[in-house]
Symmetry: C2
Subunit: 326 residues, 2 copies
């Protein structure tokens, strides 16, 4: 089969062996896979990953463990897949920390081939059935939306708080329109970015938006950093109020050259945030509260995945989708 592989020396479309599902896994035929900023950072060396990229995956279950039949529960199901493949048996897993399992592999990120491929093997424990009637173009956003909504779990915006989201890329926009789906927080939330046309997407979702060059507010209670760049943290530190909270969502390769003194001087709280709750993301999308499909910039066949990957890193391009041809 074809797969988009991070070789450690670049990102190449390669012929790879068909995946084989282990005892607790199934094989999913991929219908759509999204390219995420994390994939671009992995290509730069983040996580030191080599293997098939892709952790935003929509598909259908087509094969059971060891090449056998699909288990009854999954037969014919359209699914999305959580990315952390955890042991489910260690103390961390048993106490609710599955996404932090020290023995985990992570789809397309850590010791586990991902879904920018014709097929991918995933644990059934990771699967979520996509509701009938939800378009593929919406369902492929379940993974990134789950992560985006999770930004608010460790520092929920309280009524009256001033909230700022920095970054109008894929992640920033998803966090902003995710915030827009929360009643009551809207009036005092603002999205800051560099691209007028991207900001308009959030504006349409009901958020206040402002171009970075025109932005001079400070004193925010909660700042969500989603720029994908270390400079975003410096900006966040500059606009959050003393004793305020910065949610750090961006992941990037390499060290950040950031003056951390404001964290101490202003007694800030910096909270890292990674993967989120798929069931909640499905619920939000199924209720039609937001429509992330507006973030789709381009779609390419898997045969053109190298080009798709290049495009995903181009300025002004938001979500790029890759679809295997059947």
């Amino acid at each position: 089969m074809k797969a988009l592989v991070c070789t450690g020396d670049g990102v190449r479309l390669q012929e790879r062996p068909e995946p084989r599902a282990a005892a607790s896994e199934v094989v999913v035929d991929v219908d759509l896979a999204g390219i995420c900023n994390t994939d671009l950072e992995i290509a730069k060396g983040y996580m030191g990953f080599t293997g098939t990229l892709g952790h935003e995956v929509l598909g259908r279950v087509t094969e059971g463990p060891d090449g056998g039949a699909v288990p009854e529960a999954w037969r014919g199901k359209r699914v999305v897949t959580e990315i952390n493949c955890s042991c489910l048996a260690c103390p961390t897993c048993l106490h609710g920390g599955r996404s932090h399992c020290p023995h985990r592999t992570v789809l397309g990120i850590l010791n586990k081939d991902g879904g920018l491929a014709d097929r991918v093997a995933v644990p059934t424990a990771n699967l979520h059935v996509v509701p009938d009637g939800m378009p593929d173009d919406t369902a492929v956003f379940i993974e990134p939306l789950a992560a985006a909504l999770h930004a608010y779990d460790d520092a929920p915006a309280r009524p009256g708080e001033r909230v700022c989201v920095i970054g109008d890329g894929k992640l920033g926009l998803l966090m902003a329109i995710g915030l827009a789906a929360r009643a009551g927080d809207l009036g005092r939330a603002v999205l800051v970015g560099r691209h007028r046309e991207k900001l308009e997407l959030a504006e349409r979702a009901g958020l206040a938006v402002v171009l970075e060059k025109d932005f001079d507010e400070t004193g925010f209670d909660l700042v969500i950093e989603g720029t994908g760049h270390p400079s975003g943290l410096a900006k966040a530190l500059a606009i959050v109020r003393p004793r305020g909270t910065v949610i750090l969502k961006s992941t990037y390769a390499g060290a950040a050259d950031v003056d951390l003194a404001p964290i101490v001087i202003n007694e800030l709280k910096i909270v890292g945030s990674r993967c989120g709750d798929f069931a909640r993301a499905i619920e939000v999308l199924n209720a039609g509260k937001i429509d992330p499909a507006a973030l789709i910039s381009e779609r390419h066949p898997l045969a053109d995945a190298e080009h798709a990957f290049e495009r995903a890193g181009a300025d002004g391009v938001l979500k790029v989708l890759v679809a295997p041809e059947r």
Copy 2:
């Protein structure tokens, strides 16, 4: 009078005009002043401060506003002084955030001459009377101990949690022996440092200690970073458990070159911590629970303050005290 001045081009003992107390201030004759790591960082450019250094000050009130008599309440009092000189009128001050007043000056750190001098003018709102019977060598630690104890305010160690303090300098040791004063947390707390003889001070206070080269534990619930160096944060990020908390106490000049990815991947909480509650520090010291005087390495007359400042930055040297000669 004599004063140890950060000129922007070095630290020099200079003749300076006598301080004059403003309307809400008094003049304090300094008996003892401590040199802090923050002072060493200020000398390297941290905060861009120029003026008289010194924010750990013990003395006696000798003059009232505008050269007048000492107000009755402060007559003959031996005092220590909080360092944030706040407006007491803005919303931040009125809502309990005096140490974050946006209009504040800070003794020996921000637009306000400090106490490494014969005399210093300070707001009466900042003064705390030292209990009779408390030795000067103990009382001079009230300011740094208040800051050290504050490390536990935003992430209190819960029973059974594993706590690690990194750094066996002045701050790390004060935080460690401060922790030792808290009943119940002791058994599972460890201090990591590089100097056997410094660690022994904490060991005598009842803490478990370990040399950094022999240290290989991870999975701490709470890590207190007090090394005074950016590398301390990297260490803290490496040993805290997923979703654990790192308290950042160190301040230093310049940017930190730190890989921040663990914050996001492990969903850590980084909490900055600065100044603390003087009344609590006085209570802890007055109860005789801990004796920070063991941290005193050297004492010098104010006339030798330049040498004292050099010594404070020397390897193996802990607290250096400066005493004006009367």
